[in-house]
């Protein structure tokens, strides 16, 4: 299998400009700027079936085409490097080991959408990533790959690296814009969408790190090549992140459409200590959990949607048969409760309520009506909120309850209910 995004990983000093240049570095950018029109670049990316690898899987070329070219306002490109989705750690590797690939992708994308300024938003905890990317940016400016009239073309481009500060919600694209503008990460009401009114009120494209890193190879080798690598409607490879109860946790670049079973057993070394698989999260914590009978699903956006889950961020978390699923639901619910931004009432109050409810269940303090009410409460959050965080809470936590109902019920049985003890006299 041909490595695309991970082709430089593991090489010494892969993050330095010299090494990047040795492997056709910035040639795709030169090709786009000198031999193609912006419209042609967008077309090429459309044909490649590249889809957003941050989680939503939206066709990238289509997203770029939403930018209204006639609009006189400046256009912005924002790279979403907030990588907060539990189970996901791929963008960190791109930042640390191949930042120039990202920068080259940025140049091509900016050219395509008519932007001259890009912001790279990197989560605040990724100190090494921030340092490496800033160093790469500095190198690129020095070598005239960024700045005024880059590479002898007339194209100007500036890139700014911006740190996050510890809020998962800033991975939501409009919350990210708010954060860039110096405010709390409160997702915006939509419409208008960022393509029309985005950063500083101007048309903006927000893309994931990995998505943009795929762009230079697409320009170099062509959309057809890329589209063939994956599966229908989901071109190219993807960086799958495997963690949890596996022997070889890590990042694995594999074609879109590889089965989950293959990823876990053939690449990540299967489950340690001879244990069996009990459940697996296929695409970051927001994705509904899957059971062993669903392991043969193809890992692409459409196939996972068809079985009621999602490809999401590609974060695969494996749980073996020692895992208490009520406990796992509690951990997920706790995550959502801590990361809710608190702007809208269903999510703010609901995420905390769901967590406390599941925690009670786990500790054997819940009654039957608590479990009876839980699915209803969980479902009421999604669909009623400003952003998809609410939907994630509903889908994710809801999937534990619906697929492992018996474990939840068992927790109820273990609760001692004094009032039902028949020989107690009530004074």
């Amino acid at each position: 299998m041909e490595k695309i995004v991970t082709r430089h990983f593991g090489q010494e000093n892969s993050h330095h400009l010299d090494n990047y240049r040795q492997d056709n570095g910035y040639e795709a950018a030169r090709k786009a700027l000198t031999q193609m029109t912006p419209a042609q670049v967008i077309d090429e990316v459309k044909k490649s079936n590249l889809r957003g690898l941050g989680g939503a899987g939206f066709p990238t070329g289509t997203k770029w085409s939403f930018i209204p070219q006639a609009n006189p306002k400046p256009k912005y490109l924002v790279i979403n490097g907030d990588e907060g989705e539990p189970g996901t750690f791929k963008d960190k590797y791109i930042f640390e080991q191949d930042p120039h690939a990202l920068l080259e992708g940025i140049i091509i994308t900016c050219y395509a959408i008519g932007s001259h300024k890009a912001y790279i938003y990197i989560r605040g905890e990724y100190i090494k990533s921030l340092e490496r990317v800033q160093a790469a940016v500095d190198e690129a400016y020095k070598a005239n790959f960024l700045g005024k009239g880059i590479m002898g073309t007339g194209f100007d481009i500036d890139v700014v690296v911006h740190p996050g500060a510890g809020a998962y919600i800033c991975g939501e694209e409009t919350a990210l814009l708010e954060s860039l503008e110096g405010k709390k990460g409160f997702p915006r009401l939509k419409p208008p969408f960022p393509a029309v009114i985005g950063l500083f009120g101007c048309p903006t494209v927000i893309n994931n790190v990995e998505t943009i890193a795929c762009v230079p190879p697409i320009i170099n080798k062509g959309a057809e090549w890329y589209a063939k690598l994956g599966c229908e409607k989901n071109g190219g490879n993807r960086l799958f992140c495997v963690s949890g109860h596996v022997n070889k946790p890590g990042v694995y670049e594999l074609p879109n459409g590889t089965t989950l079973r293959e990823i876990i057993y053939d690449h990540a070394g299967g489950i340690p200590n001879g244990r069996k698989l009990k459940a697996v999260i296929p695409g970051g914590i927001s994705a509904p959990i899957l059971t062993p009978d669903q392991l043969d699903v193809k890992m692409d956006f459409d196939s996972l949607k068809a079985i009621g889950s999602m490809a999401g961020s590609g974060g695969i978390i494996v749980m073996d048969d020692t895992t208490d699923m009520v406990w796992a639901a509690m951990v997920a619910a706790r995550f959502f409760a801590h990361e809710s931004c608190g702007q809208c009432s269903p999510c703010r109050e609901g995420s905390g309520w769901v967590y406390r409810n599941v925690k009670k269940l786990y500790h054997g303090q819940a009654r039957e009506h608590d479990l009876k009410n839980l699915p209803g409460i969980v479902n009421n959050i999604g669909g009623n909120t400003i952003c998809a965080f609410g939907d994630a809470v509903s889908m994710s936590v809801g999937s534990y309850v619906s697929k492992f109902r018996s474990e939840f019920e068992a927790k109820i049985q273990s609760t001692v209910i004094l009032s039902e003890a028949k020989d107690l006299k009530v004074s």
Binding site: G124, G182, C241, V242, S243, I281, V331, R334
Partner: protein, 138 residues
């Protein structure tokens, strides 16, 4: 936000004076600066230890023993999450996913990610950072 990070790097925390100064410098009402400081978990309004552990408790790390890590750190340092040791050397907090699930169970020790934690590793990190002049939280 970059300004807040800058100040915190120098001073170790964001004080009300900083908020007022930033508000003036940026022509932004100070109440909205304070909102930002209180919203993002990386900004501290109180002093933290010279060595600060941020222990991840989300699913992948939880599956690989994060609860034991937390318990052991509490035992060794004799403080609860959010507290600072009396000598000011250590503090720790529990956080959500740090994007390093492949190193689970893991934590961030000042600026660096430390993974595959077990009692031995934790002991090493504590002893290494008990003498900050020897290391930079390495």
């Amino acid at each position: 936000m970059p300004l807040l990070h800058c100040v915190q790097e120098k001073e170790g925390l964001i004080s009300p004076e900083t908020e007022k100064d930033l508000a003036e410098y940026l022509s932004v009402p100070v109440v909205h600066v304070h909102e930002v400081v209180s919203f993002y978990h990386l900004f501290h309004q109180k002093k933290i230890g010279q060595c600060h552990f941020s222990v991840c408790q989300t699913t992948a790390c939880a599956l690989r023993g994060a609860e034991d890590v937390i318990e052991y750190i509490q035992e060794r340092l004799k403080i609860k999450p959010g507290e600072v040791t009396p000598d000011g050397k250590f503090s720790f907090g529990i956080v959500e996913c740090l994007g390093a699930c492949e190193l689970a169970p893991m934590m961030q020790c000042n600026k660096e990610y430390k993974g595959f934690l077990d009692k031995k590793k934790i002991d090493e990190l504590i002893s290494l950072n008990s003498h900050p002049e020897r290391s930079e939280g390495s």
